[in-house]
């Protein structure tokens, strides 16, 4: 097992290395970056200070170097904790990203928890009450849930909330807590704002997972050991929850690999609509402004979130399912 974990960790590092190459290449595809804009601005100011700053920027980021050299300069900085500078905010990238990445992780994790907490019981109910009216209703809701794109759901919710309930749902904090230091009241305020984005992000994933759970359980219920359990005279609830559901959960953990990307993508776009202080809005604006070091750092952060999530899913699966071998 230890061996397996170590090998997976090594594999993860290699994956991230290649992702960083691809990402860096994509983001450097177009000429005319925010760095050029910054240098032009400094040149226009003129004077000795500006001149020195231009020279230091050129040396730090290798303005005229080919992309591989630029990449090398960037990576050697990252290893030392220097992610480069955001040229539109004129601040180090490191100081801009951490709180945003934190909120992204928080939102995605809560969305995942919400997905499972809702999808598993609903899926079980749907499977055990197959072809009844509630099952049909659940199936219909599932179809709609998958079809409505995240950002539309967020938009619709915004409109409904303000038109019919006369409340705003944007942001993660009320005005008075916006820049307040952390306290229990602020945490409470955060939680009271967070449930709406969490539901929006998790909606399509929940719908999809419910379908998977229903299909899994129906498969398991046909197996002989379930019949054995019933023949032993166990109560139906015990048969379902202790024997059947446990085995129907394994494929669910396996689908985490495709669930996580959709949650992370959802988080990015929903945050833009709902104006949340997470990676989404800043990532897209950094792409549009060609603020390349900010953009690549966010892209890497989101990829790390995904890769680490997948690793945890694999380890979880290996832990709950002893039939899996770690070759």
């Amino acid at each position: 097992m230890v061996n397996y974990v170590l090998r997976r960790l090594l594999y993860m590092v290699v994956t991230l290395f290649f992702i960083s190459i691809i990402g860096f290449f994509i983001i450097n595809l177009v000429p005319g970056s925010a760095l050029d804009a910054r240098i032009n601005q400094l040149r226009a100011q003129g004077g000795e200070v500006s001149y020195q700053e231009i020279e230091s920027l050129k040396a730090r980021y290798g303005l005229n170097d080919p992309i591989p050299v630029k990449y090398w300069k960037w990576v050697s900085g990252v290893v030392h904790g220097d992610f480069g500078e955001s040229f539109t905010y004129q601040e180090p990238v490191g100081s801009l990203i951490w709180s945003r990445i934190g909120f992204s992780v928080l939102l995605s994790s809560f969305a995942l928890i919400f997905t499972w907490v809702v999808a598993i019981p609903v899926g079980v109910y749907s499977a055990t009450h197959r072809y009844t009216v509630p099952d049909y209703v659940i199936t219909l809701i599932q179809f709609i849930g998958v079809a409505v794109p995240d950002f539309l759901m967020a938009l619709i919710l915004l409109v409904v909330a303000s038109k019919f309930f006369h409340t705003g749902v944007g942001g993660l904090f009320s005005q008075q807590y916006q820049n307040a230091p952390w306290s229990w009241a602020r945490v409470g305020n955060l939680l009271s704002h967070m449930w709406i984005p969490v539901i929006v992000i998790a909606a399509s994933a929940t719908a999809w997972t419910t379908r998977v759970m229903r299909a899994n359980l129906l498969d398991v219920l046909n197996q002989q050991y379930v019949q054995t359990a019933r023949a032993k005279g166990l109560r139906e609830a015990v048969v379902i929850w202790k024997h059947a559901v446990r085995n129907a959960l394994h494929p669910l953990i396996m689908t985490l690999g495709s669930l996580l990307p959709s949650l992370i993508s959802g988080e990015v776009i929903v945050s833009i609509v709902l104006n949340l202080p997470t990676t989404g809005p800043l990532y897209i604006s950094s792409l549009i402004n060609k603020d390349m070091y900010l953009a690549i750092t966010f892209l890497m952060a989101l990829s790390i979130l995904l890769v680490v999530g997948n690793l945890l899913a694999d380890l979880l699966l290996a832990w709950v399912d002893p039939r899996i071998r770690y070759e």
């Binding site: 994509i26 079809a147 792409l287």
Partner: protein, 372 residues
């Protein structure tokens, strides 16, 4: 008594179906299985209507997409009335409320204007070649008819949504076609040849799958220059969507090819001296075709959503191009949507199209395996 009758009939059809296997061709069995799924058939029919409307879009739309009208900013949808046996609109007079300087619209149904069907309007080229100016419906000159309201610059939301469907609906199909070609070729190579090729392709797929989709799309799309022509941009956005979308399909094709590789008929044709090309093209791919169609159909909605999301974020299609995502950008501000709900109509089109594709894909999936 009645229930027994029904049960017997049901049992009868199942019995028939089993005995039909081997008697009827596979395609007949598939078609029959597909037709049994009413929801999928309905989804398919709605999609046919969608695509017909997209093809004949200029004919269906009463106004051209960029017909500005500074007098009808945010005009509400025009009500249709049934007057004197004609579908008509009522005359509207615009007056300025001098107290708060907003336009007040009063309708007067005594002055009704019947819709004119197949009437001349703005000129266009049908299919891009045949010059025409006949439209499905028009209103008399001087009157304005906004079936789905107007946007901030007085442009007809109905016309724009219909014209927008051309980009939004076609980008899904074209993108998925490219994905299918890429996915089939690489999936087949991976499954058939195995070894180092398989290893390289699979690792590459894993790498692509380790990057979150939307942020990766966004990074690519943002790399496109802003001043690109609409056609070029369309081409590149399609390319971006398909370059990332082929991975799932390649995996499915690979799994199928791996399974076929060990079957007797493959061995038989190899022993008969068939080349790899022949085995792949005449024996393996036709077998995998139904599965490829299923995966492709289920992938189309994600392509449509991809384009819509990117355009909504302002890095996909850009004005003057019109697509559903571009139109929804107008609906980004809460204050605007709240008082002009009709700006959300393109969203309904997206949801409807995506739902129908899912239903259709579900039906195809059941039909692809008619022996179960």
């Amino acid at each position: 008594m009645a229930t027994t009758q029904v049960l017997l009939e049901k049992a009868g059809t199942v019995q028939d179906r089993i005995s039909d296997i081997g008697r009827l061709s596979q395609w007949t069995l598939m078609r029959r299985r597909f037709m049994e799924n009413r929801l999928s058939v309905a989804g398919g029919l709605v999609l046919i209507v969608f695509y017909l409307v997209a093809i004949f879009a200029p004919f269906v739309t009463p106004y051209s997409v960029d017909a500005l009208d500074s007098n009808s900013q945010y005009a509400a949808p025009t009500a249709l009335h049934f007057i004197n046996g004609h579908i008509s609109i009522c005359g509207v007079t615009q007056t300025l409320n001098k107290a708060n300087f907003t336009w007040v619209y009063t309708t007067d149904c005594n002055k009704a204007y019947p819709l004119q069907f197949f009437a001349p309007g703005y000129s266009y080229h049908l299919f891009g070649i045949i010059p025409m100016n006949i439209h499905l419906f028009e209103v008399p000159k001087g009157q304005k008819f906004f079936l789905w309201g107007a946007d901030s610059q007085g442009r007809d939301v109905f016309s724009r949504t219909i014209m927008g469907s051309r980009i939004s609906l076609s980008i899904g199909l074209v993108g998925v076609t490219l994905s299918v070609i890429l996915g089939s070729v690489l999936g087949t190579a991976s499954g058939y040849f195995g070894g180092a090729i398989d290893n390289v392709i699979q690792r590459f797929i894993e790498l692509l799958m380790s990057m979150p989709t939307l942020p990766l799309w966004a990074a690519f799309a943002a790399a496109l220059p802003q001043d690109m022509s609409v056609v070029k941009r369309y081409f590149f956005i399609t390319l971006i969507l398909s370059l990332i979308g082929w991975t799932g399909l390649a995996r499915q094709v690979r799994a199928k090819i791996l399974a076929y590789r060990t079957l007797d008929y493959t061995m038989a044709s190899r022993l008969a001296g068939a080349s790899s090309w022949r085995i792949i093209l005449t024996h393996m791919l036709p077998n995998a075709l139904s599965h490829i169609v299923v995966v492709a159909t289920l992938a189309v909605p994600f392509s449509i959503l991809g384009e819509t999301s990117l355009s909504f974020l302002g890095i996909g299609m850009l004005p003057p191009a019109v697509s559903w995502g571009v139109l929804l950008r107008d609906a980004q501000q809460l204050s605007v949507v709240e008082s002009h709900l009709w700006l959300m109509i393109p969203a309904l089109c997206v949801i409807l199209a995506v739902t129908c594709f899912q239903l259709l894909g579900d039906g195809f999936r059941d039909a692809a395996d008619p022996y179960s």
